[in-house]
Symmetry: C2
Subunit: 403 residues, 2 copies
């Protein structure tokens, strides 16, 4: 069996944790499995390199940033090979040049294009554990690139696809994907399985166990993932295309506090106003989410939408700059809002799911400000002070928790 | 003009020094020169990496050590490119894979075999300053190697040879090569020129401005070197094949305190004793230097020789282990000795140089314990407390100093 195992920066932050990871890898190796390990840079290494770079040049060339950052994972993989060697396990570390990991040219945000597998296969045939630098690649100019956020997860998934691995295990500091954040919903249950699409919705709603890019790649290449803890031997959550027949209609409840509502009040009821508004925001890469447009009254209507809280001030500045275009009577915004969503692949074929969710919120006396739905997700915008109560109410209503 | 400039770890130890180096490089660039910069790892970076590696594995695989250490120079070159970029000077950093620097397979002590120049030439043609990682290479297994001590100097010389550079400047924290250590001989004079062979003798005697391997390579490929300071614009010392006709007979005086004398007293006057003794030491890589064998008296003779002080105890242990073989009456050793040498290519054709040196020592009332000579060097072993006086006396006798 060929296993790709990915460990993040906190899993290799010090000597003790490095040996913990080495031990996990050695266990599979001793069972006779072929083991490929993907590592991120240790702990805060990358942050330290970025800080020093910005001290030298506040606006460093991206090409040189990637040259610099690539050293972080190279250190991790060398140390891991040394740790395994001290346990008498043959191991070899490889960076993006040595693999090679071919990417697009875009520095700091490259996309993996092709992975050569010959070197890795040769090292595996020589019965070595192969330790590969995550996050980095090489572009057609023979320069280091990095993959952007969640890059090491993407490296692991791409390697699993290229090597036709039997398993791709993503190790984190939680035991898997839960029906809700256990800090908010104490009886939240770890899911044994979740579909790629559900995982994508969970990730976009702040359940940061897997980055969307890696899930999208896993879906595209049919790589079955397991999200599990580096600190326990619990089973983890399998992320795959189809889940079991007896699957719950709703998989879980997720929340996102990084949201703010902007309302543009009393714009003329004429074509193109909304288009112009969202066009200005899109030009500045502001992410618009839920949009609500009221029915026109007296030739005027209101447009409300949400943006990430972190982009609120930029969005307001853009709107202010173009306010004459919008013919609006006033602008309002509210930072004290949050999104709560139910996610589940079973939803599409089950009517009444939304009604059940709204009923739970009504019973809990929670006001719904806006609603947005997708095939496998229903999201409501509520007061952020109601988030915990809302999640518990919904979680109970759909009977998602442990007994 | 194509210039290769090499800066050591202390020259790039912090932001201020990085910008000092960037400024020096930018000056040549702005004059229209093509500039290739070779850098070592910053300050104590390499020591830190080695310490962390040994904490994880006291006996780390050499292949993984090189993988780890290679990150040090990669950080330096990336930071330098960022510094130059902030000064609006186009620059690009390259590691050993990107150049590529082909070496032998021996990890931690590889030899440079071939340097591809295409990438560097292309970047120079695009009017960029090219910043290359010193000390590291890539072997035929596509693995990082490192060149061992003085490796970055060797990288610079090899690059200068491969690129047919017009100049190869080695920057240090002194202004060049002196007729003697200025801390010992206050009126020591910076030499404007020195031959490769003289430089080799100076280096082997502790004047650590250039490592022997780099001088040997410069000699082999006829690369003219300039040793100069990164902190001043003084002319420096040119290292080349032939120096001017009016060359001094003696170039300079050097000392080496890392030496100890071992005496094996009263061995049988029979063939093979000395051979066996030095064979045992050679088998353990103990460097023997000056050897003195007394005339036999009563069928017995004494053998004395020097070893580096750092290898004294190992040498004594080896001798003790085999003492029966040597038929010796006793062993003695003396750590309080030092070597003082005069070096000069003009010596070979000038008789009486040795006599003049000995006269200087006699006048200073300094006892000579042992003598060794080569084509361009005369070395005496003396009491280490006499070193400073001996150097001044010899320096004066040959009139080497400033007025």
């Amino acid at each position: 069996m060929l296993i790709v195992k990915k460990f993040g920066g906190s899993s290799v932050a010090d000597k003790e944790r490095i040996f913990n990871v080495a031990k996990r890898c050695a266990e599979d190796y001793k069972k006779g499995d072929d083991v490929v390990v993907v590592l991120s840079a240790m702990g805060k290494t990358t942050d330290g390199l970025i800080a020093q770079a910005h001290d030298i040049n506040p606006n460093p060339p991206k090409r040189e940033m990637d040259m610099l950052l690539a050293t972080g994972e190279q250190m991790s993989v060398a140390y891991m090979a040394m740790a395994l060697s001290s346990m008498d396990i043959p191991a070899v570390s490889l960076n993006a040049f040595q693999v090679a990991m071919h990417t697009s040219s875009a520095y700091m945000n490259a996309r993996l294009k092709r992975i050569d597998t010959e070197r890795i296969r040769n090292e595996l045939d020589a019965r070595k554990i192969v330790i590969v630098t995550g996050f980095q690649g090489v572009n057609r100019h023979d320069d280091f690139t990095t993959l952007g956020r969640g890059g090491s997860d993407t490296t692991a998934v791409a390697l699993a696809a290229a090597l036709h691995a039997d398993a791709c295990e993503i190790y984190t500091d939680v035991e898997g994907v839960y029906t809700a954040d256990p800090r908010i919903v104490p009886n939240a249950r770890k899911m044994s399985e979740v579909t790629y699409d559900e995982m994508l919705e969970f990730a976009s709603l702040g359940a940061k166990v897997l980055h969307n890019r890696s899930v999208e790649m896993a879906k595209r290449y049919g790589v079955q993932l397991v999200v599990r803890s580096s600190l326990s031997y619990a089973e983890g959550t399998v992320v795959k295309e189809e889940t079991k027949m007896e699957k719950m209609i709703v998989s879980g409840v997720a929340s996102d506090l990084n949201t703010a509502r902007i309302s543009v009040i009393g714009v003329n009821d004429e074509p193109g106003i909304a288009f112009k508004l969202f066009n200005y925001l899109a030009a500045k890469n502001i992410n618009i989410d839920i949009i609500l447009q009221s029915v026109a009254r007296d030739g005027r209507r209101d447009i409300a939408f949400t943006v990430p809280k972190t982009e609120l001030h930029e969005a307001l500045a853009i709107i202010d700059e173009h306010k004459d275009t919008f013919t609006a009577r006033s602008f309002q915004y509210d930072e004290n809002v949050a999104k709560v969503s139910i996610i589940g692949a079973g939803m599409t074929s089950n009517p009444g799911v939304a009604a059940k969710m709204f009923e739970a919120l009504y019973n809990a006396d929670i006001n719904i400000q806006m609603i947005s739905t997708s095939e496998i997700r229903i999201t409501v915008l509520i007061d952020e002070n109601d988030v915990a109560r809302a999640m518990r109410a919904i979680h109970d209503k759909f009977d998602l928790g442990d007994d």
